[in-house]
């Protein structure tokens, strides 16, 4: 039984995972700090699966970043809206960049 199970079902899951590990390795927070925050988010979930799991991961990551002063909620919300807008302004088949909405990226 050596089924090759892919750990990520979507690129964003791999991305948020890797950013968390990178921040931990850079000393931004300890893994214990991370596990506590992530565990708290997971307590609210009853469903299984990578989508639910990494959604909780993402919420926990934002919370740690905001609580520890690495980002503000406003920055996160603004940039998230910018990325949504950039996607809608980008023709299908072309890479989505923030330049599509003339975003100043002055987060």
């Amino acid at each position: 039984m050596r089924e090759p199970e892919t750990p990520f079902e979507a690129p964003w899951q791999a991305q948020v995972f890797a950013m968390t590990v990178a921040m931990n390795e850079a000393g931004a927070f300890t893994w214990t700090r991370w596990a506590d925050a992530f565990g708290a988010e997971l307590q609210n979930d009853k469903a299984s699966g990578n989508a639910v799991y990494y959604a909780a991961w993402l919420r926990a990551f934002v919370r740690v970043l905001v609580e520890d002063g690495h980002a503000t909620s406003q920055e996160v919300e603004t940039l998230t809206a910018d990325w949504h807008a950039a996607a809608r302004a980008t023709p299908h088949g072309q890479p989505i960049t923030l330049a599509a909405v003339g975003c100043s990226q002055n987060a």
Binding site: M1, T32, L58, T78, T80, T90, P91
Partner: protein, 206 residues
């Protein structure tokens, strides 16, 4: 759900899901602030999507079966013994090995979240991260084991170990009978991921 916006001249425009947009937003912020390096992110993804996996742990198990000195080293300081094979945790976590046999069966869970020995097993499978496993492994381990197809003799003691951010466990399963003539590589090929979490046993010809 967000309605599709037709105010632009791009009838076939893209739509990002909320987690996609949010993840990109975080990356934009963190890279701009110099808090993460995009190359480091790519390297981490590459490592965990492709390079590390249960094949690492299987080599540790096979060596533990074949080499009594290595088995002793594992008992004394599992973190160092495993690191000597080139497998090191990124979070500098402490590794402990749990030996199955002599009437004891060990099984590992993380009730809090999904702490797991990445260096030797890669990232955890979906079931390990699932709320039912996290809740039931401690409450009714034998029932959970049965669902994995593992039925143990009544007198075998089941020990459930709760991983934390600091301590990660690797189960050393029992070496199956009839494998005396096999070398380390052949033995490693028999060792399954689940057997190293304690939700499986190693069998020949399975």
């Amino acid at each position: 759900m967000r309605m599709h916006d037709h105010s632009h001249d791009h009838p076939h425009a893209n739509e990002l899901s909320d987690p996609e947009a949010r993840t990109r937003a975080l990356e934009t912020i963190l890279v701009q602030k110099g808090l993460v390096d995009p190359e480091a992110i790519d390297e981490i993804i590459e490592t965990y999507a492709k390079r590390v996996g249960p094949q690492n742990g299987a080599q540790v198990v096979a060596r533990a079966w074949c080499d009594p000195q290595f088995a002793d080293a594992l008992r004394q300081d599992a973190t160092s013994a495993i690191a000597s094979m080139g497998f090191q945790g990124r979070q500098a976590e402490h590794m402990e090995v749990l030996w199955n046999g002599d009437g004891v069966h060990n099984m590992v869970v993380c009730t809090l979240c999904s702490c797991y020995p990445w260096a030797v097993l890669g990232l955890p499978p979906v079931w390990y991260k699932s709320p039912p496993y996290r809740a039931r492994a401690v409450a009714e381990p034998r029932k959970v084991l049965a669902e994995f197809g593992v039925t143990l003799p009544k007198k075998t003691k089941v020990r459930v170990w709760d991983s934390t951010a600091e301590v990660r466990y690797l189960v050393i399963p029992e070496r199956p009978p009839g494998t005396e003539g096999l070398d380390e590589a052949a033995l490693a090929a028999l060792v399954t991921r689940d057997s190293m979490i304690g939700t499986g046993i190693v069998e020949v010809g399975s």
